[in-house]
Amino acid sequence: MSVNRLASIAVALVAMLSFAAGTVSARTLDEIIKSGTIRSA
């Protein structure tokens, strides 16, 4: 397994754990506009 793949899995795990803990949430349209950046994948 490549280093990139491992890093990707780690980030996904952190994201899922953060979501479960309620520490992060999706941004509103207003927050996206104010930040000046939209993030896409």
């Binding site: 793949r5 990707s8 899995i9 980030v11 996904a12 994201a15 899922m16 953060s18 979501f19 992060v24 949430s25 999706a26 941004r27 509103t28 349209l29 207003d30 996206i32 506009i33 930040s35 000046g36 950046t37 939209i38 993030r39 896409s40 994948a41």
Partner: protein, 228 residues
């Protein structure tokens, strides 16, 4: 963006992700008046990323399915993908079921989803399995097979390398509608994206980008109307 789904996303010679999805997302950002940040994802992590707000929307051939719609919301379709039969002009097939014949040889890419479909539904046809799409399309162009069943859009760039008159059998196996995935209840963002998607369809931008990256017109344009 998923760089393993060319031409939706792939690495260029500078190791940057380019492709249809990148260009389309850039158009979205332009309409919103913000900068675009590209985030690399793989298939397993893309939905958790959008659920947790690490990204605002996800592309990468996100087919709208009832199962996925339980965990994320979808916008209007941006594009389709057609699972169908690629053959050469002059072949008599009008429906994919016409290939269920012992005189038919399909050229397929080893290990891909359509192999199972053929085993289940076209039991009489012979199958020649090759290692990759360029080889499979070349074999078809050289007359070493009668048809190829796959997502036809993704073989467009290989079709254009051969001087033969291609034909896509009229009745597709299936048509998948792909939208942008957003977090559940991100209603304001989803509503805005739907207006932006309609605008990009209306201006012909989607078709233009599709032709640029896929080398062929979208086989089943989504045809979004103003009254969505």
């Amino acid at each position: 963006m998923n760089p393993t789904l060319p031409p939706l996303g792939k690495f260029d010679e500078k190791n940057e992700i380019v492709g249809f999805d990148v260009d389309y997302a850039a158009e979205i950002a332009k309409l919103l008046g913000v900068k675009l940040e590209i985030v690399q994802v793989g298939s397993p992590d893309r939905i958790p990323f959008v659920q947790t707000g690490k990204i605002d929307f996800v592309m990468g051939a996100m087919t709208r399915t009832p199962e996925r719609a339980k965990v994320i919301d979808f916008t209007l379709p941006v594009h389709t993908e057609v699972m169908g039969v690629l053959t050469i002009e002059g072949k008599p097939y009008k429906h994919w079921r016409d290939l269920d014949n012992e005189n038919v040889t399909l050229v397929q890419v080893r290990g891909t989803t359509p192999i199972k479909f053929i085993e289940d539904n076209l039991k009489k046809a012979k199958v020649t399995q090759l290692d990759n799409y360029p080889d499979a399309v070349r074999a078809l162009a050289q007359g070493r097979g009668d048809g190829l069943i796959d997502i036809i859009d993704f073989v467009g760039e290989h079709m254009n390398k051969h001087q033969v008159k291609w034909k896509v059998v009229e009745a597709p196996v299936d048509v998948y509608y792909c939208g942008l995935g957003v977090a559940k209840n991100a209603t304001g963002l989803k509503d805005w994206l739907n207006v932006a998607i309609f605008d990009l369809h209306r201006k012909g931008k989607v078709g233009e980008l599709w032709k640029k990256w896929f080398g062929i017109d979208m086989l089943y344009p989504t045809g979004v109307g103003p009254g969505f």
